[in-house]
Subunit: 202 residues, 2 copies
DNA sequence: GTCTATAACTCGATAGAC
DNA sequence: GTCTATCGAGTTATAGAC
């Protein structure tokens, strides 16, 4: 709001985040971003050189903040149920605080998988192998019902992230208002891990 | 493959389906589609008049085939567990046979929710209200554990559809090859409803 | 740093020959 | 029906004044 050094740069970044999120990279024009930021089109190029660099600046910076958090949660030595609770909370809070991220990740990952994965994790993927071993160990110990680790992992990710992708469907199609939807998402921090643990525990 | 009447039209449609699915409507150029189809750009306009009409022809035709199937499955009078099994099978088979559809639906629904929902269901949405009542009745009868219907509905949709959106992540990021991935998806036709029913049954 | 003006380019669409 | 050639709108990107 206040005119300071770096104010324009910040205005551009948050305007870009907003418009890119709503319309995707290709659907957005530099003019729209400039208008939203209340500045001139040429300034976008002055600060960020071109559209691609602006786009990357906006999203990869945001994503990389979460990459280490996720890696830590997945590789931790916590007991399985505790880890599942932690993972769900991490994913869901991330999405609540950054409603644009899930859509962005899914569309980018389906356009340029190699490039995206490389940028997101910098050649240092979360250790799903270790998590799989932990699941298999619990099955052997007979503390949970048999399930292939990839299925359990997919179930966790799915229930945490997918509802955010469906938000417009619920809000527009089924007349669930936005506040109610956000309440539902908050509930899911407890609801999802409980649902999962109910299903697998012996 | 064979040169016949209607061959070009068919080549265009499947080329368009492929490229649109990967890059989205805005990210795709008519030139790319023409190249993929091995024909000339002008032919695209000859057959489909313009880009928007081509896009709609490709996707809404496909989607509308499924709209009545889904509506029937959701509104049926089958017992709850049976209905859940049927729904999962319907969603997962749909996605297996049309790997491009989930990405398309999610990105479109997040760009233009009203328009998309209207086109997809022609003002005649699936009756989730009825499904919700059915869930609430089972809870009252004490045959399943208490859960808010929207959560259960989200869980079902999520576990059926989301894994298809993550395919590139599994295939590229975690070196799971495509055949194995498809096997996993087929398993989920049984796996997902079992996981859900395990979680909610008393 | 910020602006106006415009150059350079991409892409959808059409004209017209065959 | 299919092609080549080209137009024109819309966008990215830059030059240059302040």
């Amino acid at each position: 709001m206040v005119n300071k050094q770096g104010a324009a740069e910040h205005l551009i970044l948050s305007a870009a985040k907003k418009i890119f999120s709503a319309k995707g990279k290709d659907g957005t024009t530099m003019q729209e971003i400039a208008d939203e930021a209340g500045i001139n089109k040429a300034l976008l190029h002055y600060y960020f050189r071109n559209k691609d660099l602006l786009f990357e600046k906006v999203f990869f910076a945001e994503l990389q903040k979460f990459s280490p958090i996720l890696k830590t949660a997945i590789a931790s030595d916590a007991p399985l149920f505790e880890k599942i609770e932690k993972l769900c909370e991490t994913y869901i809070r991330m999405a609540i605080n950054n409603p644009f991220l899930p859509v962005f990740v899914i569309s980018e990952i389906n356009k340029q998988p190699e490039i995206f994965i490389h940028r997101m994790f910098q050649n240092n993927l979360p250790d799903f192998q270790k998590f799989s071993k932990q699941i298999e160990r619990e099955i052997e110990l007979d503390t949970i019902k048999p399930i292939l680790p990839p299925h359990l992992i997919m179930n966790i990710l799915s229930m945490c992230v997918f509802p955010f992708l469906l938000k417009p469907m619920f809000v527009h199609g089924m007349k669930i208002n936005k506040d109610l939807y956000n309440d539902l998402m908050l509930q899911r921090i407890q609801e999802v891990p409980a649902f999962i643990i109910n299903s697998i525990k012996k």
